[in-house]
Structure formats: C-alpha cells, structure tokens
Symmetry: C2
Amino acid sequence: MKIARSEKLFEVGEDALVAMITSKLPTNRDVVAGAGDDCAIVKPCGKIWHVLLKTDCVVEGVHFFPNTPFDQIGWKAMARVVSDIAAMGGVPLHAMITLILPSDFEVIKVEQLYSGLRRCAERYGISIVGGETSTGPLVIVSVSMMGKVNIKRCLRRTKAKVGDAIFVTGKLGGSIRGKHLKFEPRLKEAQWLSARPFVHAMMDLSDGLGKDLPRLADASGLGFVIEEESLPVSKGCTQQQAWSDGEDYELLFSVSADDGKRLQIAWKHKFPNLPLTCIGRFVKKSQGKIPQFKRGGWEHFKSRL
Amino acid sequence: MKIARSEKLFEVGEDALVAMITSKLPTNRDVVAGAGDDCAIVKPCGKIWHVLLKTDCVVEGVHFFPNTPFDQIGWKAMARVVSDIAAMGGVPLHAMITLILPSDFEVIKVEQLYSGLRRCAERYGISIVGGETSTGPLVIVSVSMMGKVNIKRCLRRTKAKVGDAIFVTGKLGGSIRGKHLKFEPRLKEAQWLSARPFVHAMMDLSDGLGKDLPRLADASGLGFVIEEESLPVSKGCTQQQAWSDGEDYELLFSVSADDGKRLQIAWKHKFPNLPLTCIGRFVKKSQGKIPQFKRGGWEHFKSRL
C-alpha cells in the first residue's frame, strides 16, 4: 500500500503504518524471524555468552524539545540503549521499538524517526525485530534491547575495589548544546576495556557524574574522593556543569591503583582522539567525601528541561 | 529510605521511586543479575530453545480509562505480553517495565501498578529484571519480555495450510465490560497445542477476530471462509461484536482438516471449562470470502475508546 508522506496517522491506520515501518528494518544473522508475528525469534547465544536485557525511552519535553529533528530523536533513542549494553562490556544484538504518537502526527515524521533508529542500529550491527505503536498526546520512543556478554568480561557496577582509580572517557558537561542528540556510544572503547582484567567496574554516564558516580560507589559498597579540578570539561563549560549536566554518554570505570598509568599509555595508543582522565579514587564508605558542587545531576520527576 | 505513600513523585524523586519498585521484584533461576546495573543479566537458553522477544504497552485513554484500578492496569500490561509469548508456543521468562507517569502521580498508585505487574509475573514464573521511569502527561506502561520456545514446537502465523480448520478458544466480544483487565493468558492451553503436530499456525486475538484473522491468513498467503453463525459469542454480545470488539486474548489457530474432531475430543478432556470452536477454514487466497460484518476490529490511530 502506497502512503502519501503528508498523510496523517489517523488517515492511514495502524496496519499501513506498520507495513511502512517494517519494510526496511535492519537485520543480522541471529534473526530467525523479525517483525510480523506475535514475537520475534532470535537464536540463543553460545555457552560463554550471557544475555543482556535493557529498555529505555525518550519523551518529548523531557529528553528532547518539540522542534528537534526526528532523525536525531531516533538516533538518540537507540544510542542510549547501546551505551548501556556497551557499559557492561556487552555486544548489542536485537532491538524492539515502541512508538507513542499523536494521531495527527505526520507520516513523514515517522519515517524520519525510523531513519534515525535504523541509522544507529546499522552502525552497531543491531537488528530491529519488532515493536509496538499506539496513540498518545505526545511523542515517546521506547527501545528495548537484547545483547550478549562474555561472562568472563562482564563489567558490573558492583565490583569496584577500595583504592581503585576512577576514570572517565571524553569531556563532560554541556551535552544539551547538541551532543545529547548525536553522541557515539563508546562501544568499541568499552569492548576494549572489558578485555582488561584490571578494569573492575563500569557504567555509562547518562544522568550526570553527580548522580551516576554515587550510584556506582553505592553498588560496590564504597565511598569516593574526587579532585574537582581534574574533571575533564567540555569547551565553554564549568566544572559544576561537568558534574551535574548529564547526558554525557561517556564511560565511568574503576581500575586497580597500580594499573592506571599502564592503562593511560595503552589508551593513548589505541584511542588517540578520545581523552581519558583519572578524576579520583574509590575509598571505604566511611572515608568518602561529598564534592563541593551545588547540584547533583539529572533527577526525573524533579528536574525539567 | 521510607516513602510516605501519599507523597507525589516530584517530592520523592527517581532514585527513591526506583528503590521502592525494585525492592520486591519477582525473580527466577535464570537471573544472574536483575535490576540495578546498566543491564540485567540472564542465562542463555540451551540448544533446543530459541529466544522470543516481545514488547507491548498500555496507554491511558487508549487501553484503559483514567478511573481503572491501577492493580488491574499492571496485570493487563503484563498479561498482554504473556499472551503473545504463549501464542508462539513459548515460555515467558524475563520482563522489563517502562513507566511514564505525571510528576504529581501519587506514589501509592505506583505501588498498586507494580502490585498488578508482580501478581501476573509471579503467576506465570516471570522475573522482572529492570525497566525505566520517566515523566509524561499521562500514564503509559510498556512491558518488554524475553521468552524461550522449543524450536520444534514454535507456532508461527505463516504456516497455515489450505483446508486447515480455523479454531478459537473461549468466547469473543464484550471484553470492554471487564475481561480486558482481568483475562488469563492462554499459556497452558498454548503449550499443550504447540506439542500437537497437527496444529500449524497460531496467534492471540488482541485487536479482534476481524483484524487478526486476516493477518494470520495474509501471513500464510491464504484466504479464509468463516461461518458467521458459528462464532462463539460472549453472553449478551452479538456476532458483530465477537468479530470486531477486540481484546479477547483468546487463541486463534489452524489445524489439519482431518484432525479437528480428534482435537475437539482431547481438548474437552484436558480443558473442560474452556470452549473450543471451529469457525471456518483456510482456503486459497482467491477463494477467500469477506464476512458480512460492518466493522473490522480495533484500529490504532483510527479507533478511540
């Protein structure tokens, strides 16, 4: 069925919309059956692989402004989940997309949204195997993903140790100026890190260092001490912004105290264009210090765009 | 952290909300790590099992009225996905929950919503391994699920054959009067059917026979002929309603013409309280007949509650 791109959703209906969306989904060799049945069918992983599951969503007015290009919204929705799979040392495999859209939403915008979702999926070898569409008063894109991780290389939040050096990739703060729509999840960097036994714990920075570092420390039962002036700051940003802005999608990880220098040298050789910075260390919970910043990162239900 | 149940979400914030939600999630033996890290970790299935992936959502004003009890909304959101996994002959395993909630939504309602989600998960042996919460102008509950299916017993929509008898379980129509919030996904019935080689194709009825039967026929490249007067009708409903109301969550499946009677006898013995009805047969696409009903089932973007 041919759809004019200026038609509204209530004019074309669900089946035509789904047919349009599913006509060009990316796939990969693990897919037995993609979209079109009650469920997608993908092949189980081998013995050394565990399955990773993650879901995330972006909401109009919370994660993007109403005038954001829809291609970028699609990229962001997919890339956020890739960033989480990467942060475990995992490989993203299969995605499902839930779209909530107003019924007078233009079909061409759905195409743009899916164009961004596909662009990101194809970039990282991910198949899109299904999803759901429904009506609602504003745009919401929810992405669920299955990935795999080598059980010996999985990087949890729980495994940081007292004395570990705290590292972050890239620069922090000011993501709202554009990076939050265009960032590259640190998949290859995370893969490389997960192969190094001196990396103990890792997560991605989505709500801001000020929210996420305490979460990693808590999960490992530790405290932390950071050197405020060492934070790698995006151009034109303050250290306060690097601490609290959020949406950096960089990696935060812990490394044996003795191996920090070795890591820095190997990193510079492997990823010369991405800064790597030691910002402090993990300590016993009782010895942790709260940094001297005013705000603490993005908080859903409390913060607003 | 203790939360007063009358507090609003913007008063307690995301971390306290997530801590409350994740303190009593169901789990099962396949879970290596549940909620709390970037991703959940579950064990891969054995060689004869394939992985099923499904996502679905319920939206205020579309799938439930604003005054619906939240426990029932939670049950419905989870049970809809169980119904899809069941319809493939699969076993539901792990679920992730995305909640979109207004920031002045009362915490006690989140508890009620999760109580319904947990009740359904526990009933069917499903673990809840993560999810996402965000703000939005109305309530949306999205459930993503991973299941497994024995590759030899998987029932696709694509495998119906010319001459197959068309069967439906239960009675159809009038779900809006209450069944749509309280239905039992036909998991054990679907498991039983998937072990019978004369069952060729199956799906669950969610958008109504008038939408779903043509989808099954299309997927198999077939037409169908039904006997309108044979439709199993819920008490007080017309055949038109049985055709077009939707949200029946019964099973629709195809059976070799020669085995229909044998199935009926075995079914009556195994599931004496659930009607099983032959409503017609699959034919070549060119020989299909469109039934004499006015409306064709639930259509998103076109239909409204």
